[in-house]
């Protein structure tokens, strides 16, 4: 039998613990393929977050460090400044990056740290069980806003790419999605570019990946992809927010 698309070398051959329909597995693979294609696996150090992707330190086949909730960009900063010859990435969810770790996110971008951040936005807290995230949509139900997100009580969702685009230090910001095969292919390009930028010494690169969490939303994997298409895209338009070819902001709605 001919294997035409084997497991990337940058992924360890172990069983992942992610739920059926979860986007982490796909996102991991995109990161691993980018590492393989750029030939940087051996000199890459990854930072695993707190949340479902905490176990990614077992999955990525490179040196890994697991850090405190939200502190990925600070840890990546310490690693990169100490080992500028290495490629350093931080893999984070929305609670990690946009809630408890927003300070580290903004300041690592403002400093223009030459690191890569993979930001998984699935509009919920995965590991703790479906609480409201900073990216939970208006009206969306969560275990800590059971009647749906109400602006009077819960405020509004945070658009990370739009926010970071204000910072001179941010070099490349793109929002992509995993809800169709075509979007996965686009997401792959963005992830690879975010790593290529670091190899080229261009500075802070962040890819926001709209992803699925069917378990905590109480819906099927298919319905979860539909949730991205029907609901999330309206709140979180896809596109390049910083560092587009030609220097223009390039935001499309699909």
């Amino acid at each position: 039998m001919l294997l035409i698309n084997p497991r990337p070398e940058s992924l360890v051959d172990v069983k992942m613990h992610y739920c059926p329909g979860c986007g982490h597995g796909v996102a991991h693979r995109l990161v691993a393929e980018a590492m393989d294609e750029l030939g940087i696996r051996e000199r890459t150090i990854g930072v695993a977050p707190v949340g479902c992707a905490v176990f990614s330190d077992d999955y990525f086949n490179c040196d890994m460090i697991q850090g405190a909730h939200g502190r990925g960009p600070a840890i990546a900063t310490g690693l990169k400044r100490t080992r500028p010859d290495c490629i350093v990435f931080s893999y984070q969810g929305d609670g990690d990056l946009a809630s408890i770790g927003m300070g580290e996110t903004i300041h690592s971008a403002a400093r223009g740290e030459n690191i890569t951040i993979i930001f998984i936005n699935n509009a919920t807290y995965g590991m703790t069980g479906g609480q409201m995230a900073p990216t939970t949509l208006m009206g969306q139900k969560a275990s800590t806003c059971p009647l749906g997100r109400d602006p009077q009580v819960n405020g509004y969702p945070i658009k990370v790419c739009e926010l970071l685009a204000q910072l001179e230090g941010a070099r490349y910001l793109e929002r992509v999605s995993l809800h169709t095969a075509a979007h996965v292919i686009k997401a792959k390009k963005a992830v690879k570019k975010a790593f290529q930028n670091q190899v080229d010494g261009k500075g802070f690169s962040l890819v926001e990946i709209l992803s699925t969490c069917p378990t905590n939303m109480g819906i099927s994997p298919l319905e979860a992809t539909k949730f991205i298409a029907d609901k999330m895209l309206a709140q979180y338009p896809l596109g390049v927010y910083k560092g587009a070819e030609g220097g223009k902001i390039d935001v499309s709605r699909n």
Binding site: E42, A68, R71, A74, G78, L79, R81, E104
Partner: protein
């Protein structure tokens, strides 16, 4: 070895860490330790190291977590409220067996408190400080010379046992100027071996993971018990103290850092009057000189603990003495500094009471 220098405690400490091989600093401004980041901001680039003014103490300690994971000597410094913010990160370093090093140039608390030197962070320092079961190797300098010369020992102990190490100083030690000599050969970091757990380029070896967690059943207990073996070894081998005039003492003062200096003045006054008084100065606060205190408790009639806190060090002394003799307390919390005279006055009271001249209060 080096020439005699006149430096502030904070600067001596910063220079001492660089000479001990530190090549990474991240910190956030807070009085009374600001001279440390200011000094490191020009000194580290001079020797090819990295300095980062972090956006917060929380970010600073996590930058250290990342940098230390590559196996180099790192340092962060702060003062009491900032050290509280760093505790989560310190706990992660302890759990991941990273030998980080930091200084608390302590000030008066709780809360925002004041910016005077104080010793109210004793419990936080010697009982771990953050969440979970762990210990930190704690050295307490009492002079600018020790501020400059202790960092090397902290690095060596931290690396040998893979534990965080710290210096517990205070605003007075940080701000005062004294002559000092660096009593060690400057360390070239290139001469240090890269530890076998360090992250970096994994060409030709298996991937490495630095982490403080293990969710599989029973695994974390084993991890913690293994670490506890190292703690036990530290308690057996790494205790440092200074005992002055304790041989014939009927009352022994116990004090560290700045309060040990005030106690030294009181000791001199007492001895000048022929009173049999001694002074035990713990240099390591953890491990604590428990055995020495037990040994002294068999010979002396009482202890007087002098501390710039409400009564924290006294707990460790009482645990060691275990009720054999009375342990008295002279406590000046939240930025107050005891004078030699006031300590001497209490020494006289305690000795009178000891001889039955009146009942001990």
């Amino acid at each position: 070895m080096s020439e005699k220098l006149l430096m502030k405690g904070n600067e001596a400490f910063a220079e001492g860490t660089v000479r001990a091989g530190c090549r990474f600093f991240a910190g956030y401004p807070i009085t009374p330790q600001n001279e440390v980041p200011e000094y490191m901001s020009w000194r580290l680039p001079e020797v090819g190291g990295s300095f980062i003014q972090a956006e917060s103490e929380v970010a600073a300690i996590n930058m250290l977590y990342g940098a230390a994971a590559t196996g180099i000597r790192t340092m962060t410094s702060s003062s009491s409220p900032g050290i509280s913010l760093k505790q989560e990160g310190i706990s992660y370093c302890a759990g991941a067996d990273l030998p980080i090093f930091y200084a608390n140039v302590a000030r008066g608390g709780p809360g925002l408190g004041n910016i005077a030197g104080a010793q109210g962070d004793y419990f936080q320092s010697v009982r771990g400080g953050g969440h979970g079961d762990y210990r930190v190797f704690v050295m307490a300098p009492d002079s600018v010379s020790e501020m400059g010369n202790f960092p090397l020992h902290c690095y060596e102990v931290a690396e040998k046992y893979r534990v965080p190490a710290m210096i517990l100083a205070d605003g007075i030690l940080g701000q005062m100027m004294e002559p000092l000599e660096f009593k060690f050969e400057t360390v070239d970091p290139k001469s240090l071996k890269t530890p076998p757990w360090a992250l970096g380029d994994c060409t030709g070896r298996k991937k490495r993971i630095v982490r403080s967690y293990d969710l599989s059943e029973g695994a974390l207990e084993i991890m913690t018990l293994n670490r506890a073996k190292r703690y036990k070894e530290i308690e057996e081998k790494e205790v440092l103290f200074e005992a002055r005039s304790c041989e014939d003492a009927e009352l022994i003062l116990v004090a560290y850092g700045t309060s040990a200096r005030a106690s030294t003045a009181a000791l001199k006054m007492a001895r000048a009057q022929g009173l049999k008084v001694g002074l035990l100065r713990p240099i390591t606060l953890w491990p604590f000189p428990k055995k020495k205190i037990q040994e002294l408790a068999a010979k002396t009639s009482s202890f007087l603990v002098v501390e710039m806190s409400l009564g924290q060090l006294v707990d460790d002394v009482r645990l060691a003495v275990d009720g054999r003799v009375p342990v008295h307390l002279h406590a000046r919390p939240s930025g107050a500094v005891p004078t030699g005279e006031e300590i001497f006055a209490q020494i006289q009271e305690e000795l009178k009471a000891q001889k039955g001249e009146y009942v001990c209060y």
